[in-house]
Structure formats: C-alpha cells, structure tokens
Chain length 353, copies 2
C-alpha cells in the first residue's frame, strides 16, 4: 500500500534510442498530474542514467550493477525501450535488459490491456514474465555442429502466482471470464502444468468463467469479430504472451499504442511495449516518436500507486487524442506532430475533462 | 517425378469427426478431375481406414501400425483432421496423429499458402515440420512437484532443408522475397541456428531478397495494411509456423479456408488445417461442415503431382465460390449449403471455366 509511504520514489530509466525522449514526456505528464504531491515531498522522480546499450556493451552485462542498485531503491519504475543486441550489431551479445530487469526484480506478471471501444474489445493480458522460454535465456546447449537445444521451464509457484493474479483481477473488476492460452497438446510438460494450475485455481473462483485455448487458434480468434468480444482476461505463458500481445496491440492501433505493467511482490515497472527505434534517431526523426505507449504505461503506473482518478483522466485523454480525434490531431507517426506537441495536447485535454 | 510412375497411389485417410465426410468430398472432386487417368489405371485412390481416435486410444498409439504400413504404400496422402486427446477427454493421452505422421514419414516442410486477392495478399508459409518444440513431443521432464521442463530442438540438417525449400520456391515462382521469423533474441540456441542457417542459405540466392523478423512483431505486421503486401515467402520454425498460419488463415476467411501440404523427400501429405469439430458431429450438423480447407489441400496435391492445370482450375473455382460469390452461395458455414452442395457447386464452376 503506497499511501502509507512517507515518500514514493518513481525511478525513470530512459533506455536507448527514442527511449529517453518519450520517457521524458511521460515523466512530464506525471509531474503535472502529481504536482501537488511532488510539491509536498510525497512523490519524488528519480532519473536513473546509465541503462544504455553502450554502457551495457562496455561492461558486458544486461544491466550495470550500479543501475540495478538504484532501481532497487525505487518503489516503482518507468522505463523506456532498451536495445537488445542482435547478430550484425556493433555490440557484443549482452542479454536483453527487459528480461534481466523482469528477472532481477522478480516482476512475475506482465499486464497488458488492449481496448478498442468501437469494437467492444476490452482485453487484459496476464503474461507470465519470468519463466517459459525466457527462464534460461541464452543458456541453451549445442552438441557438435549438429544438434541445438533450448529449454522451456515452468515452476509450480510460477504458474500459480500468475494464475491467481489474473483471477483476482477478474474478480475485482467484475470481468467475468478468464481464458488460459497454451499449446498444452504439444508442449505437454510445461504448458500442461500451466493449464492444470489455471484449471485448479479456477475452482476457487466459481463466479469467474474459465475456458482454455491453444495459442494457434487464439491468434485467429482475436480477429474473429463474432467471438473476440467475449474475451476479457487472458492468462498465458511468457512466449505466447509476448507474441499475442503484439497482435492485440496492432488491433488497437499499433504496438506503439500499448502500455505494459511488470508487477512483482516488491517492485513494479511500467514500460512501452515497442522497441527503441534506432532508425528514427539516425534519421533525425526522434522528436516525432509516438509517446502514447509509454503514456499508457504511465496510466498503469498511476493505477498501481492508487491514483485511480488521475489514471482514468490520463487514459480518457489518450482515448480522445488517439481515437476520436485520430483524423485531425493524431499521433506523431501519422500527422507530423512531435512527441512534445502530442503530450501537450494530451495534458490540455485533461485540463478540459 | 510422378509422371514416370506406372500408377500413382493416392491414399485417403478420413480421420475423425467431420474428417471422413469432408475428405470424401475432396476425393470426389479429385476423382472427377482425374477421371481419365483413373479410368486408364494411372491413378488409384486407396481409402485407408482405421486412423480413428477410438482405435488409436484402444491401441495406445498415435498411428496404428497397420495404418502406417498402408500409408507407406501410397505416393501421396490426403488426410482429414484427427482428434488429439486432451485432459478431460474420454481417451488416454495418445500423441497427435498429425505430428506422428509428419515425423513418421519425415514430412519436413509444412507449406501453407494464404491469399487475399482483394488485399494484395499472397503469402506462402514454409513451416519446419519435424523439430522445434514438436521434436520431443511429450517427453519433457518433471523434477519433483516443482520444476517442469520441455525441450526445443534444431538440427543443422533440419534448418538447412527447410531454408533451401523456401528459397527454391521463391526462385522458381519469381516471388522475390523470403522472410525468416524467429525469436532469436531470446530463444538463442535453436532459433539462432535457424536464423543463421537462413542467412547463410540466402547468400546462395542473390536474386531473392531476404529479411528477418521476430515472431511477436510479425503477428502485428500481418495486420498492417501498409506492410503486409510485401511479404511473399515466410520461413519459420515449427511452433511459430503453427501459430502464425492460423492468424494468416483467419485473414483469408478462417482456418476452415486454408489447405496445407506436408512435404518430405519421399512422401507428401495434404490436409485441412482445422480440427475434427466433434461438436458439429454431436449436434448432427456434420453435413454442413465446410470442405474448403481440404479442397484447398487437394489443390496443393494436384500441383504436387504435376497436374498444374487442374490445380489452377480447382483453385480458381474455389476463389470464385468462396470470395466473389460469398454473398449468394458461400460456404456451408454461412448459408446452410451442405458440404456436398458446396462441392458440387465448385465442380459446376470448374465445368464452366
Ligand atoms: C525486447 C524483448 C526481449 C521483449 C520480450 O520478448 O519480452 C519484448 O518483445 C516485449 O514484449 O516486452
Ligand atoms: C493438431 C495440432 C497438433 C497441429 C499442430 O500443432 O501442428 C495443428 O494445429 C496444425 O497446425 O496442423
């Protein structure tokens, strides 16, 4: 319960590429919305530098130790996209900072809401965030030049805590349905365990409907206008959550429009779901980057710290700026508004709500 | 080269639920189209019974040995959907017959075309069909009650042969682009090998453009009207192929509209990509099942055995019956035409082409 804290510390970690700029926009919006509490010393924003691909490459680690230390001093974190090196890039092969932060702070739930009011879509994805194909990172096994193996992992505790969180959310919000998505017909041991656990937990929530789907057909169902409105809360292992939330975000208007909350018992981190867009920076178009994803993440941050009214306002303003007025103002990507102009427009809209 | 055979044997394996009926429709269509050759004894259809969930359950195996033996006497196989038992079903846990047949006949490439002419979409997916998360089937590992592990496998040979097949197809058809889809930033050992291999093979096909994508963002790109026309041939590991081809099929009109070819060095099997729809059978609606997916599979079978003109005709007739006349005749699912009526309409349409 954050309201009992003397001071709530919000860490701001800009990341790479367009990250620092768009994260700065979200920080600005939060500072405006939380101005009273900032002034009263109840909320502090703390910018954490040094989570850049250059430093990570130099130190050969996913997250520099000093950054990790600073992160752990915060209560909640707002994070911009970070670059994950890939073959051909100038950096050595350091692990994804996202994944390292999720594991390092034990942020076991990745919560991603997707709404398209015009289509009656109101989905909340509960993606398991520390296990599955992500648990063992780069530590697969190669045998001679011929055989390559990766591991997928599930633990009882890991499956249970994400299932409970999803059902608790369904109960709390009165969303009356949880859908579990796996490929338990093939990936029988881990996905089987995940599905079993969800089925078991479902029995404790008799007021919440439960059903389960295979990931392949689920990607089709999300496009089926006759069925997709029925989905409410979707709970799924790490990799499927990664895959399907990008599809879902595209239905909402693009991966640039969706925010993401990474929740653990002790920490919580809020981030855009898109990448760091190095090309935009190279081409000098960084200031036109669309800040809506990280602004949606800021909505989730506000909700998480108990600022429900402010969260609703920011969310509503984003709905207005992104959907209703899409044709006239729209996001930077479409009309050439800068991130700054878009953010100002959002804040103006809030002022008029 | 099938034209050198004295007699081409086409095995027909009905499967479960609506399978025997819709597969029968496709057999009927093929018999009409190949009537001359059947009469001349150059083509024989051989119905293979016994690939039913009841028998598989009784024998406790994915494919009864006598069925496997019969299958191996055929040159090509037309297969209906088979039921894969899941928890709560009355059957014991026998392996998926699809997966067992793909492995047993070494059908290493799963080729799935998706076309939406109105949208300029003309995709062909080359899904690796014997490795990945499917290679080791149910043989994950459980350690105590706490830890569950599954394996993902890639071999050099496995990656190389699917990559070559995709590039050969791109070269042969003049489709000028192959896109590789993995999650090599996370599943580094196996997906890394898959991507490496595609990059290496790409060098031998300088006239074909090559690019690569992560599976999460790819599910979004397929929905992006500005970008998706650019995709032509897509090559990907087993699980991602499974997932994304259902999404793609839905864009085409539903998983009931897409066919699938399972190609190996020695055998080839053609199937619908949807399931056996036991509910339709229970509710007495089986005769209304949509046969278009298995008819599309029949198109691929004709193409594969060198009957290019007949393949084109059947394909064109399906396009007409499914798309242009969707509003008046349409598939069984939409207007209450039976599978038989729909198939007859397709054959009438061919006669008028
Ligand atoms: C950048 C990448 C490691 C990450 C993931 O796969 O989880 C991203 O796609 C996401 O969804 O947050
Ligand atoms: C039935 C199932 C085992 C199969 C698969 O996962 O490959 C199906 O979804 C498919 O795509 O053919």
């Amino acid at each position: 319960d954050y309201s009992k804290l003397d001071k709530l510390i919000i860490g701001v970690c800009g990341g790479d590429g367009i990250g620092p700029m768009i994260t700065g926009m979200a920080q600005h919006a939060l500072e405006v919305l939380l101005a009273d509490k900032v002034k009263a010393g109840k909320v502090e924003f703390r910018v954490i530098d040094g989570l850049t691909i250059e430093r990570r490459a130099e130190l050969g680690c996913a997250i520099p130790p000093d950054v990790m230390e600073e992160l752990k001093k915060c209560h909640v974190i707002l994070k911009g996209p970070t670059t994950t090196p890939r073959k051909g890039d100038p950096w050595p092969n350091v692990e994804s900072a996202n994944v390292a932060m999720r594991k390092g702070l034990d942020l076991f739930a990745n919560v991603r809401p997707v709404k398209v009011p015009e289509l009656g879509i109101d989905w909340t994805f509960y993606r398991e965030n520390t296990e599955g194909g992500y648990a063992v990172g780069s530590q697969g096994v190669q045998i001679d030049d011929d055989l390559f193996i990766d591991f997928t992992v599930a633990t009882s505790q890991g499956c249970e805590r994400i299932a409970r969180l999803a059902f608790d959310y369904a109960r709390k919000t009165g969303k009356n349905r949880v859908s579990c998505v796996t490929k338990a017909n093939i990936i029988k041991t881990t996905d089987g365990k995940f599905l079993d656990t969800c089925q078991k937990v479902a029995k404790e929530y008799p007021e919440v409907q439960f059903d389960d789907w295979y990931i392949d057909i689920m990607t089709a169902k999300l496009l089926d206008d006759k069925r997709r409105r029925d989905f409410k809360v979707v709970v799924l292992p790490n990799l499927y959550g990664d895959i399907i939330t990008d599809e879902a975000a595209e239905i909402q208007g693009g991966v640039g429009t969706a925010g993401s909350a990474n929740i653990g018992k002790r920490y919580a981190m809020f981030e855009a779901i898109h990448g760091s867009a190095p090309r935009m920076v190279q081409e000098g178009r960084a200031k036109y980057a669309d800040p809506s994803s990280v602004l949606r993440a800021a909505v989730m941050l506000l909700e998480h710290i108990g600022e429900i009214e402010l969260a609703k306002k920011l969310d509503r303003a984003l709905d207005i700026c992104m959907v209703e007025e899409r044709k006239v103002v729209v996001t930077g990507r479409d009309t050439g508004a800068t991130a700054q102009e878009f953010t100002d427009y959002v804040l103006d809209t809030i002022a008029k709500l």
